[in-house]
């Protein structure tokens, strides 16, 4: 493996020449300000940035290791991303030269990421993080530099600012939607799905009756079921939990049923030969066998529950909750708050899913899809 890595490093040594498009930049105006086009010589900050980036490219051959080269080039890329942000901060509009410079630097970032992908340990994890950061910075520079209306897409800086100014509201929304509705609905839905599956496994006619009903229920759109649940269970978390139960019950039940059928005949015979009864067989054989399926159901449901709660809040809620926030702030054109709420929802969903995936890895390390010798 080490040998392969070194080979990959050696093959990477020659650098594609594309980042050098930034050599064209100096002949184009760097920005337009109050008095018209601005040349590079008129903006010492921009010129310093460009020279720094070019110096990094020139000096990279002197770098003692691939990691050092990545660090050096990264400094050049950072300079290129900092210049437009600084110019925008002074109220200048980026010009063609600056865009060319930025494009060249972004290509340079590609090489940095490739170098990091071949590295081991923490540096390897830095690659994806840098990629994400670059994406956010480009979003910031492009939306502000091109003057994209905030209604269409606010820059991440504005969303971050909304986080700060609306922190209390966002936290209350999170508490109402996630900590109250989602957690309770998810536990009830998954718990009930699991319990009914165990029951249906013992009483086969129940399974035959419930499965078609399950298909029917999963075909009902949330926007159809949510207003009805709000009518039945009121504005507070109960109606959201009810929507989540409807959405999560059958995926959990179907997965549990499939998992319970996963035990092999020979494994069941073994339990029988020990005179083990139904519950012992369930606990010692069938549930462990079903674990991968159970986790499947739990993972699918973690995202379904969040969607269900947010959508249900569109149809009536006390004046708090992520769905409520999105619907009211859209109406008030406060798109930065909407985006902040979306960010909270996305982070929550990923965190839930990730936590479940980690737990699954831990508990079902024996399963062929995870096992390593």
């Amino acid at each position: 493996m080490n040998q392969e890595t070194t080979m990959a490093r050696q093959m990477l040594r020659p650098m594609a020449p594309w980042p050098l498009v930034m050599l064209v930049a100096p002949v184009l105006p760097v920005a337009t300000g109050g008095g018209g086009a601005l040349a590079w010589t008129q903006s010492p900050v921009a010129l310093a940035g460009l020279l720094l980036t070019l110096a990094a490219i020139l000096l990279r051959r002197a770098a003692p290791s691939a990691l050092a080269e990545a660090g050096l080039l990264l400094a050049g890329v950072a300079a290129a991303y900092a210049v437009p942000l600084l110019l925008l901060g002074r109220g200048l509009v980026p010009g063609a030269g600056l865009w060319v410079y930025l494009a060249g630097a972004t290509l340079l970032l590609g090489r940095v990421l490739r170098l990091l992908a071949d590295a081991d340990g923490a540096a390897r994890l830095a690659g994806p993080a840098l990629f994400g950061l670059a994406l956010v910075l480009l979003w910031e520079i492009l939306t502000r530099g091109l003057g994209v209306p905030a209604i269409l897409l606010p820059p991440p800086g504005a969303i971050l600012a909304a986080f700060a100014t609306h922190a209390a509201e966002l936290w209350d929304d999170f508490g109402q939607t996630v900590l109250t509705s989602v957690v309770r609905g998810y536990l009830m839905g998954c718990g009930a799905g699991f319990a009914v599956a165990i029951l249906a496994d013992r009483v086969p006619f129940l399974a035959r009756g419930l499965l078609p009903l399950g298909n029917l229920a999963s075909a009902i759109p949330v926007v159809g079921i949510a207003p009805i649940m709000v009518m039945w269970f009121g504005f507070d978390w109960q109606s959201k939990a009810a929507v989540i139960v409807v959405m999560t019950f059958f995926p959990m039940m179907i997965n549990t049923l499939a998992g319970l059928r996963g035990a092999e005949r020979i494994q069941l015979d073994l339990m029988r030969s020990y005179g083990a009864g139904y519950w012992r067989t369930l606990l010692l054989l069938r549930l462990p066998c079903a674990l991968p399926f159970l986790f499947n159901g739990l993972k699918i449901n973690s995202t379904l529950a969040l969607i269900g709660a947010i959508v249900a809040e569109f149809f009536g809620t006390p004046v708090v909750g992520m769905g409520f926030r999105i619907s009211t702030e859209v109406a008030r054109m406060n798109l930065d708050v909407v985006w902040a709420t979306i960010a909270v929802a996305a982070l929550t969903g990923s965190a839930l899913y990730g936590a479940l995936a980690l737990a699954e890895r831990r508990v079902t390390a024996w399963h062929p899809s995870f096992r390593k010798r």
Binding site: S273, R280, P288, T364, W366, R371
Partner: protein, 281 residues
């Protein structure tokens, strides 16, 4: 203070047991008919067999002759259509609930989420034995099948032969008097199989357990058994019962396979099997 109760698994010697040879498995006029979609299939027809304590019985016959079915009937994993079966003087169901036998399946049937030790302790756990004693027993049995030191490994980290040895250790763990083995070495290569056969015959000599062994291999059957039961293809019936204990010593090494007595018995088994085939066609 009353004396501590003996552990439920320890064989309690009774007056009857002192007499030998005692009948462990008694099968009389057994019939088993499956209902399949188009027609009933007779799997076993008029089978009578008596297995004495300490016997090593091999059931041999072509595929589908009902030898596995016969063993599954003894183990109460299959219900006969008619006839009587007694295991240790009880019905197969009572015997199963009393854990009178250990069953070794065609495949190791180890639970992948349990390590080797916890696979061996599984029956002991079901019987409610204290954890410390379970571990001691598992250690003893793994040592017996030559797998000491593999306690913490997981089944998928072992070779096929090792896995099957773990399953034998698991069957021995609760010290049943009767060991039912359904082609345990069928999926292994010949060298591993020879090796395990030698291990098994030593184990049998040392523990004096009663064994019923299903196999396809004539050499394996002759090498291991005190008696060989030759069965015909469907409907499964007993064609011949060959006594090997008379001509072959109890203690056997692989070299015995070259001896004329061994060859003679193997020949008789082969004759019996051929007769069964011609009968079928």
């Amino acid at each position: 203070m009353p004396a501590a109760q003996p552990a439920p698994l320890a064989a309690v010697p009774t007056a009857a047991e002192a007499e030998s040879p005692r009948t462990i498995v008694d099968i009389r006029r057994l019939n088993l008919i499956y209902q399949t979609a188009d027609q009933p299939v007779t799997a076993l027809s008029d089978v009578s067999l008596s297995i004495a304590k300490g016997d090593f019985i091999s059931l041999i016959g072509p595929s589908g002759c009902g030898k596995t079915t016969l063993m599954r009937v003894i183990a109460d994993l299959e219900q006969p259509s008619s006839g009587d079966v007694l295991v240790n003087g009880m019905t197969p169901e009572q015997a199963r609930l009393k854990r009178a036998y250990g069953y070794v399946f065609q495949a190791p049937a180890l639970y992948p989420w349990r390590n080797v030790e916890r696979n061996v302790t599984l029956p002991l756990e079901i019987m409610g034995m204290p954890a410390a004693e379970r571990r001691t027993r598992a250690g003893e049995q793994l040592e017996r099948v030559g797998l000491a030191g593999f306690e913490r490994k997981f089944p998928w980290q072992l070779s096929g032969g090792m896995q099957q040895r773990v399953s034998i250790a698991r069957a021995l763990a609760f010290d049943p008097d009767l060991l039912l083995m359904d082609e345990p070495f069928g999926a292994l290569d010949e060298i591993t199989r020879d090796h395990l056969n030698v291990n098994l015959t030593r184990l049998w000599l040392r523990t004096r357990k009663t064994c019923v062994f299903v196999t396809h291999s004539i050499a394996e059957a002759v090498f291991l058994s005190t008696r060989i039961v030759v069965m015909s293809p469907r409907p499964g019936r007993i064609l011949d019962v060959i006594d090997c204990a008379r001509d072959l010593p109890r203690e056997r090494t692989l070299g015995i396979r070259e001896s004329p007595e061994f060859q003679r018995i193997a020949h008789r088994v082969r004759e019996g099997l051929m007769e069964g085939h011609s009968y079928d066609d």
